[in-house]
């Protein structure tokens, strides 16, 4: 055998190996076992829930995570993957309905739907819940380390009074920051117009100078490490902090007196999936009180499942960050379309000075 021949043979086997590798994913997808492609937030769906569903139904769940609504949207709309079940927040649900990207869901036919709190249903982003089933709700509010800050902090204006300069963490989320500024000025939070943005720009400029860090992923870590003493974060983060300090009240959660953003994360089925049945099965599975309870125990947001709430420990039920007492002023986000660009532009301007 001469060398050229061996070289050719080596090349040939290389090429055929590559061809085989290219073919295999489609080959795998066709092998009989039913699957469900779940595209969900990171740190939001407990492993136990996935395992339990797989065991009971024999459906294999492929989980892919995202850490912002916009990343999910980008992947879903660009056709980067095939997803059967997604977990968007309220304004994204609204946008997806507008673009006709969701499968209608007959909620009344889903077993367990009746367990849901009527206050979490029928909201402006999806009247009649024709396309979405709420997963968890939450708010954006103020966390105070009461060991360091003794003042009675009531609202966003108090946080940025100038007293806590460089002790503040805020969400790394430009729309949230603009929303707080709107709330302090009595501007409806969904009224994102160039005029209103211009009105709050100097206010935000003053605020940003006082911020120590921006963090959307895990602001609780900064509280626990003692890097910050006060901040405006997701209620789930606050609830975890409250749990970690074992109810000693070290970390207090305050819903801003000016009003707060309530987010509603729902399960939705993207248009055109061939596995709608499996997706519906998953939805009804998580609506079972004993399953829903598992989610709440790991991720203490506001569970809309009233039957599941009854199963939670007394401590969890009384967690003020998960279940804020009283009747706070809460508002959900609406889809603001291209106004998102104006926010981004203004905030880039302010944050790069």
């Amino acid at each position: 055998m001469n060398t050229t021949q061996t070289r050719r043979q080596a090349l040939y086997s290389l090429v055929s190996a590559a061809a085989l590798a290219a073919l295999s994913p489609s080959a795998l997808a066709q092998s009989g076992k039913p699957v469900l492609n779940l595209f969900c937030w990171s740190e939001y769906v407990p492993e136990a829930v996935i395992k339990g569903f797989e065991k009971e139904t024999g459906i294999k769940v492929n989980v892919e995570n995202y850490d912002s609504n916009e990343k999910m949207l980008a992947k879903l709309l660009a056709g980067g993957g095939k997803y059967d079940l997604i977990q968007p927040s309220e304004y994204v649900v609204e946008s997806l309905i507008k673009q006709d990207k969701l499968e209608p869901i007959d909620s009344s036919a889903i077993e367990g739907f009746k367990n849901l709190d009527p206050k979490a249903l029928n909201l402006p982003h999806d009247p009649g819940n024709k396309y979405s089933v709420p997963w968890m709700l939450g708010t954006v509010g103020i966390v105070v380390n009461t060991a360091k800050i003794k003042d009675d902090v009531k609202g966003v204006a108090d946080v940025f009074s100038g007293k806590y300069k460089k002790r503040i963490v805020v969400l790394d989320d430009n729309r949230e920051i603009v929303t707080w500024a709107f709330a302090t000025q009595g501007i409806p939070i969904n009224d994102v117009t160039p005029e209103n943005l211009a009105k709050v720009k100097p206010i935000i400029k003053g605020w940003l100078k006082q911020v120590k860090a921006y963090d959307s992923d895990s602001p609780k870590t900064k509280f626990l490490k003692g890097d910050v003493d006060i901040g405006i974060v997701w209620s789930g983060e606050a609830a975890t902090l409250w749990k970690e300090s074992k109810g000693s009240g070290k970390f207090k959660y305050v819903l801003p007196a000016e009003g707060a953003h309530q987010f509603v994360d729902s399960l939705c089925i993207p248009k055109g999936t061939p596995r709608k049945e499996a997706a519906l099965k998953f939805i009804s599975y998580i609506l079972r009180p004993e399953v829903s309870k598992l989610i709440s125990e790991d991720f203490p947001y506001t569970n809309p499942n009233l039957e599941a709430r009854k199963l939670l420990s007394k401590e969890d039920q009384e967690n003020p960050a998960s279940y804020p007492p009283g009747d706070p002023k809460l508002e959900t986000f609406k889809d603001i379309g291209k106004a998102a660009r104006d926010i981004d532009k203004m905030m880039t301007d302010l944050r790069s000075q």
Binding site: D172, K212, K338, R341, R351
Partner: protein, 344 residues
């Protein structure tokens, strides 16, 4: 020169690659076409479009104008214009800013105002910061990396491999873990502050994390090996008899370094600068992890356009600007190198 001649003789055959040659090259050529040329072309086309209002995706075909409306052009330079000037078309802006003095109690007092001139468009400012951070990080990498590379290159063979290994070991863990380790070290109640306080060097914790300095540190730490390795390559090849000759002929150590060592290791330094500076400018995530998101770099701003900003065409334009900057910088440096080589 000897080196240049050697290089020439190696590439001398000058034969065009035959069929087998092309077949062997094919994976690389296909790779470049599929993952460099094609995406860059898509990026370039997208950068001239405008974004869809709902999705932020590029619109490659505008809807025909309705009655009484002026059709939006599909392709325009508006994204590039937005990078350079602000809404009013200004390049520079002057603002009054307070001069703040911190008094003995740690309270801040405004003691006057000063005029500050800066780029009006925020994106130019972010480009500026990114170049500045990456530039400082590159200079620090050269200053720190050169002696290290020299030492490793001159060490005896057995310890040389061990030392090279030591440079590489941190890279066995992921970038994120390495960076989080720094967060733990630099935090206000972190290891470093704890040690300094314990040893009574400072009384109050020192703010290190979430500052521009922390961002530069993150860049230096993550890119240092990319400076050390190419310089090590040149140092190792350096013929020691040339250095000895320079010293024998009366050059002091400084002069020998300047006239003999530095020129001979220059290729390694240049390669190191390229390997550090280029990726450092476009780096993202470090500014949010170690800078607390307060010193955005252009990589973060570009990523933002594709998500919360919902403006893919503008993100593409920012990306293309970055690519263009590197192409120009590359051309400029290779010109410079050629000019230097010609004069020698």
């Amino acid at each position: 020169m000897q080196v240049a001649a050697a290089a020439k003789s190696r590439s001398a055959p000058g034969k065009k690659p035959g069929a087998i040659g092309w077949l062997l090259l094919a994976p690389m050529v296909l790779w470049l076409l599929a993952f460099v040329v094609a995406p860059t072309a898509i990026l370039m086309v997208a950068s001239f479009t405008s974004a869809d209002d709902n999705t932020g995706f590029p619109v490659y075909r505008q809807k025909p104008a309705e009655d009484g409306e002026v059709a939006k052009p599909t392709y325009s330079l508006s994204n590039y214009k937005r990078i350079v000037v602000d809404d009013e078309g200004k390049l520079l802006t002057t603002e009054e800013e307070d001069i703040v003095k911190v008094d003995a109690n740690g309270d801040e007092q405004v003691i006057g105002t000063k005029k500050v001139t800066r780029f009006a468009a925020p994106y130019l400012r972010v480009f500026g910061y990114s170049l500045l951070y990456a530039g400082i990080a590159t200079v620090l990498c050269v200053i720190i990396g050169y002696p290290v590379a020299w030492f490793i290159g001159r060490a005896n063979e057995s310890s040389r491999n061990l030392l090279l290994m030591a440079v590489m070991i941190p890279f066995w863990t992921s970038f994120l873990i390495r960076t989080y380790a720094w967060v733990t070290i630099l935090a206000e109640q972190g290891l470093l502050n704890g040690m300094l306080q314990y040893s009574k060097i400072i009384t109050e914790p020192f703010e290190m994390l979430y500052t521009p300095g922390a961002v530069v540190l993150g860049l230096v730490y993550n890119y240092l090996p990319f400076m050390i390795l190419p310089i090590y390559g040149s140092v190792e090849k350096l013929d020691n008899s040339l250095v000895e000759a320079a010293l024998d002929l009366g050059a002091g150590p400084v002069r020998a370094f300047q006239r003999v060592i530095l020129p001979l290791t220059r290729p390694g330094i240049v390669a190191g600068i390229m390997l550090v500076f280029v990726p450092a400018v476009g780096m993202f995530a470090i500014s949010s992890l170690m800078g607390g998101g307060k010193s955005p770099m252009i990589g973060d701003v570009i990523a933002g356009q594709f998500f919360a900003g919902r403006d893919w065409p503008f993100g593409s334009a920012l990306g293309m600007t970055l690519v263009l900057m590197f192409v120009l910088a590359f051309l400029a440096t290779s010109r410079l190198r050629k000019a230097v080589a010609d004069t020698e």
